[in-house]
């Protein structure tokens, strides 16, 4: 008897609006496979039995009370509680079935019977209930089963849509903003920033020279639907070398339905006379295909401090991103591309020549250069471009497993312009191009009690430092290869208790080619330890090729326990190993804003950090608090410190070098909220932190001072869509700081004198008052419109911020009024 290849025909009757015919292909495959095995005999008998089991396509759960109607014989049977039905006395023929259920679309399927058969049928839920599944899933897709993760609400996210990622994240207690001027800012979590904080977008960590204090993340947060954060290295899936924390930017998968929707936000701000427009559109189809496009255009001029204009602080931004994909529930593919381009002016007065200029700037109350208002950005400035392209594919299997593979490419180009003489003024002083390729794959399995996620990653990174700048390279050329694997598991025996464990192992190979100037080579006596690696020598420089290998293992474990329904406790322990950055090992250059020469230390070892985070969450009636103390200790913790002076034709400059120390950082984050009545809600979030070197007890630099923010939210019952927020932020003076002051000898008014260069003393504390009014959403033609009016620094307070590197030169921004119009299409 020949093997018969069955082709099942699927009848396509008048389709209801939501229909899951697209899954029939899958069912067909399943049928083919299962029937092939049973198709050896073929006889005309009518004593065959078809035993079927009807299951939910998404979670494999049996569907009871489904109606099975045999069209050829008008026979009807129902499934039992286990989803099982039996059709007796069937003939050897093709029978056509219609399987229907209250919450599902009808499934029309033909079955070729030639012997007694048992098989499974998968029913697809209606879109409405499907949505629930997807929503629920995204809820389940927690970053960590045991560590507290923070999510920005849509209001919080949109409110800061025009002001950068760090500013948006600053609303979370324990998160600060390390800035350079008014626009360049990067998130600082529990006193750590830069390479110690991971920013993950679309599943890969952003590679944009994040080591630099004045390098803001080159990503438009508006291209993502969700911004989440974990304080601590809690997401080993994405990174194992970020003891500070992880910020995860993610896009939601669009609905499976024919629809077109979007959001447009228009922000206008008085300070800087800026305007930006952000728009995102998603077109999705019944087939699961979708297309998403998002863009942003931003133009901002010079900002104003209460007493003067901050010349050359304008910025422009143009971003665009596309993604195209198809969500078939059981499988999903996506292709994405994005381009980010930002030009940021740096306060003109902050570009100085030597230490004496720095002393003068510190002594002056006002910036030395104040020009009329302008939207034009001149040197000094940064021009950053970031391109991303990626493709990902994921597939679920019937046993709640999901496999994902992803390739992504990133190209980051950073150009920094200094004030230079004549022909060089339009030539970048720093021109770095970083190409990163990431290939990752992972398998994730969720069970009722256990779930695990494991994967492997490969990253190849190529950094090119353009020599045509005419200034020695700040960062050498290198190729970095990283590969490794991770495994995370969590056990939740009950809803009240979960345990988590994970590890990530990474092997890193850096091939670095760096030029050392002979003078530096001699003073540091590099010949002894690096002499063997010299591959070229001449013109006062030595080219050294080194291969540096680091093997790092990061671990974390934690538990989360609901002692009572209103009292939740979690404890997490993170052990992190981080290979030193190329910048920490090899940087070599002059910083014009701080008049310092920075040198890397090529002999640094991996930095290890242990961090303990406790989180207590309690609800007492209308009062809720979240109390989170943490402690971290670092070995080989890499810091930069002044170590001496170097003489140049411009005078003597302090030299800062990287060094490894043992460190301790501890702090407390506290969030309180009290719902006084249905109209008024009071909330507070505060954070206190201290950090110092273990042996010498010297405080660490750039540790945020105690900060507390109080908020009163007020809503009126008659005006359902009105919300008013009054907020007050106080930041105390940081009294724990390392003293890096030094003396310099200058001639002033004909007399040589010594002057103290006070680069360490933090500025006074400050208090800021803000107010927000939110109206909406209201119907607006076929769309919905919301309007917000936001006042920052309402009292126009003059203040300086310890965490701003340009604090020596000018005050922070004064009062700002922002009008935000948001339209949901």
């Amino acid at each position: 008897m020949s093997l018969v290849h069955f082709i099942l025909s699927v009848r396509t009757p008048e389709l209801p609006k939501y229909k899951c015919f697209k899954y029939s292909k899958l069912s067909k495959t399943v049928v083919n496979l299962s029937l092939l095995a049973t198709s050896f005999c073929f006889s005309q008998e009518c004593d065959l039995r078809l035993e079927g089991k009807v299951l939910d396509l998404h979670d494999n759960s049996p569907i009871s009370a489904a109606v099975i109607y045999v069209e050829d014989s008008n026979e009807t049977v129902f499934t039992d509680d286990n989803g099982v039905f039996v059709l007796e006395n069937q003939c050897t023929q093709k029978i056509n079935l219609k399987i229907s259920h209250l919450h599902c679309d009808d499934l029309y399927i033909g079955v070729n019977l030639n012997k007694t058969t048992s098989r499974k049928f998968f029913l697809e839920h209606h879109i409405e209930s499907l949505e629930e599944v997807i929503v629920e899933e995204s809820k389940l897709k927690k970053l960590s089963s045991t560590a507290q993760s923070y999510v920005l609400s849509e209001l919080q996210k949109d409110q800061y849509s025009g002001r950068g990622l760090a500013k948006a994240l600053e609303q979370i207690s324990g998160v600060n903003m390390l800035s350079t001027g008014n626009v360049i800012s990067k998130p600082m979590i529990h006193g750590m920033f830069g390479s110690r904080v991971g920013i993950i977008y679309d599943g890969v960590s952003i590679e944009n020279q994040q080591w630099g204090q004045d390098h803001a993340p080159n990503v438009d947060q508006n291209a993502f639907d969700e911004i989440r954060l974990i304080k601590g290295a809690g997401v080993l899936k994405y990174s194992g070398d970020t003891p500070g924390g992880v910020v995860v930017l993610e896009s939601r998968v669009p609905k499976i339905a024919d629809s077109l929707y979007g959001k447009t936000i228009l922000n206008g701000m008085s300070n800087g006379r800026g305007l930006d427009i952000i728009s995102s559109w998603t077109k999705s189809f019944q087939s699961g295909k979708y297309f998403k496009v998002q863009g942003m255009i931003k133009r901002v001029g010079d900002f104003e401090a209460p007493d003067y204009l901050l010349s050359n602080t304008g910025n422009d931004e143009n971003n665009i991103s596309f993604s195209l994909g198809q969500n078939k529930i059981l499988s999903h593919w996506k292709i994405n591309f994005s381009f980010f381009n930002q030009e940021i002016g740096i306060l003109r007065s902050a570009h100085i020549g030597n230490v004496y200029d720095l002393v003068t700037a510190i002594e002056l109350d006002n910036p030395s250069i104040i020009n009329p208002f302008s939207h034009q950005v001149i040197s000094p400035k940064q021009d950053n471009k970031h391109y991303t392209a990626g493709v990902q594919y994921s597939k679920r299997n019937q046993s709640n497993g999901k496999w994902t593979a992803q390739y992504s490419w990133q190209k980051n180009n950073r150009k920094e312009y200094d004030v230079r003489r004549g022909q060089y003024n339009n030539k970048a002083a720093i021109d770095l191009t970083l190409d990163t390729h990431n290939l990752t794959t992972n398998y994730k399995w969720d069970g009722s009690k256990w779930s695990f996620d494991t994967g492997a990653f490969l990253q190849v990174q190529d950094n090119y430092s353009n020599p045509y700048t005419g200034i020695k390279r700040l960062i050498p050329d290198y190729i970095k290869t990283r590969l490794g694997t991770y495994f995370t598991a969590s056990l939740s025996p009950s809803n009240d208790f979960s345990l988590g464990f994970g590890f990530r192992y990474g092997h890193q190979n850096n091939q670095v080619k760096k030029y050392y100037h002979n003078s530096r080579w001699r003073t540091e006596n590099y010949e002894e330890r690096l002499g063997a690696f010299v591959i070229r020598d001449g013109a006062g420089q030595k080219l050294v090729e080194q291969r540096l290998i680091f093997n790092n293992l990061s671990l974390n474990t934690g538990l989360k326990y609901s002692i009572q329904p209103d009292l939740k406790l979690s404890l997490n322990v993170f052990h992190t190993e981080r290979a030193p950055d190329i910048a920490e090992m090899f940087s070599d250059g002059l910083h014009h804003s701080l008049a310092t020469i920075e040198y890397g230390n090529p002999f640094l070892k991996s930095e290890t950090t242990q961090k303990f985070v406790i989180n207590v969450e309690k609800q007492i009636g209308n009062f809720r608090y979240n109390f989170s103390p943490y402690f971290s200790q670092g070995q080989n913790y890499i810091i930069i410190e002044p170590t001496g002076f170097e003489l140049t034709m411009r005078g003597a400059f302090p030299v800062w070098e990287y060094r490894a120390v043992s460190s301790t950082i501890r702090g407390i984050d506290l969030d309180l909220s009290l719902q006084l009545n249905e109209h008024i809600k009071f909330s507070n979030n505060s954070s206190w932190i201290e950090g110092y070197e273990k042996e010498s007890k010297t405080p660490l630099i750039n540790i945020p001072p105690f900060t507390t923010t109080n908020q009163i939210q007020f809503s009126l019952p008659n005006w359902k869509s009105f919300l008013m927020v009054l907020s007050s932020k106080s930041s105390l003076r940081q009294n724990q700081f390392p003293n890096h002051n030094f003396e310099t000898s200058v001639v002033e008014n004909g007399v040589r004198m010594k002057k103290l260069v006070d680069i360490s003393t933090p500025p006074r504390g400050y208090h800021l008052l803000g107010m927000e009014f939110h109206w909406g959403p209201y119907p607006f033609f076929s769309d919905k419109i919301s309007v917000s009016l936001i006042f920052d620094n309402m009292l126009n307070a003059s203040y300086r911020n310890y965490l701003n590197r340009l604090r020596f030169y000018a005050d922070e921004m004064g009062r700002n009024m922002m009008l935000q119009i948001k339209i949901r299409h």
Partner: protein, 202 residues
């Protein structure tokens, strides 16, 4: 259909292999174009034709011969290179200052002409300490003036009276905020060059 799905990762993987196979090319050395590494002051007594030349270079500079390096005390408050200029009392001197980039010894670049060309964006300032009394520096008649008629002080006349000695600091200021004043802070801008020397009038 499902075959297609694997093609992309495979292509990506091949790309990786390709990248792996490549090694980084040797980077070109950076030719530091803009830095001033050497300053020269040429002093000619009025009526004489024998100029005296003083060079200011950073010690430990890559082209210094190691033997020539002076001992430099790190605690010395005057961090500069000590150059002593001997002048006669009651005399006038024509002085010109020049700036060079000699990071590439094969191609020493004279930056002075550039400074002169961009006189509007530059200012040379000699700040004389009080102890050096009776000594003055004025713009020479052949000095460069900027578009506002402000002298650059590239060519100067130094006038001595009685015996005295003291320090002079020379600055090349880039983009000064003001072109008049007596002391460095009056000018603003950023310092491109700072040299110091002792003047002995005997």
């Amino acid at each position: 259909m499902s075959k297609n799905i694997y093609i992309k990762p495979i292509i990506a993987f091949c790309l990786f292999i390709l990248i792996f196979a490549c090694s980084k090319d040797d980077p070109d050395p950076v030719n530091e174009e803009e830095v001033i590494t050497k300053v020269t002051i040429e002093i000619t007594k009025v009526g004489s034709s024998n100029p005296m030349t003083y060079n200011f270079e950073v010690e430990g500079h890559d082209h210094d011969n190691e033997g020539e390096e002076e001992d430099h005390d790190d605690d010395d408050e005057h961090e500069g290179v000590h150059t002593e200029i001997e002048l006669e009392a009651n005399s006038s001197y024509n002085v010109s200052i020049s700036f060079y980039n000699d990071s590439d010894p094969a191609d020493i670049e004279n930056i002075t002409s550039e400074v002169i060309e961009e006189a509007d964006e530059h200012q040379i300032l000699y700040e004389i300490t009080d102890e050096l009394s009776g000594f003055s520096i004025a713009s020479a008649s052949n000095d460069t003036v900027d578009s506002n008629g402000s002298p650059l002080f590239q060519k100067t006349t130094w006038t001595t009276t009685g015996e005295t000695s003291g320090e002079v600091i020379g600055y090349l200021i880039h983009e000064p905020t003001s072109k008049t004043g007596n002391t460095r802070t009056d000018f603003g801008g950023s310092t491109d060059v700072e040299i110091e020397f002792e003047v002995h009038v005997e």
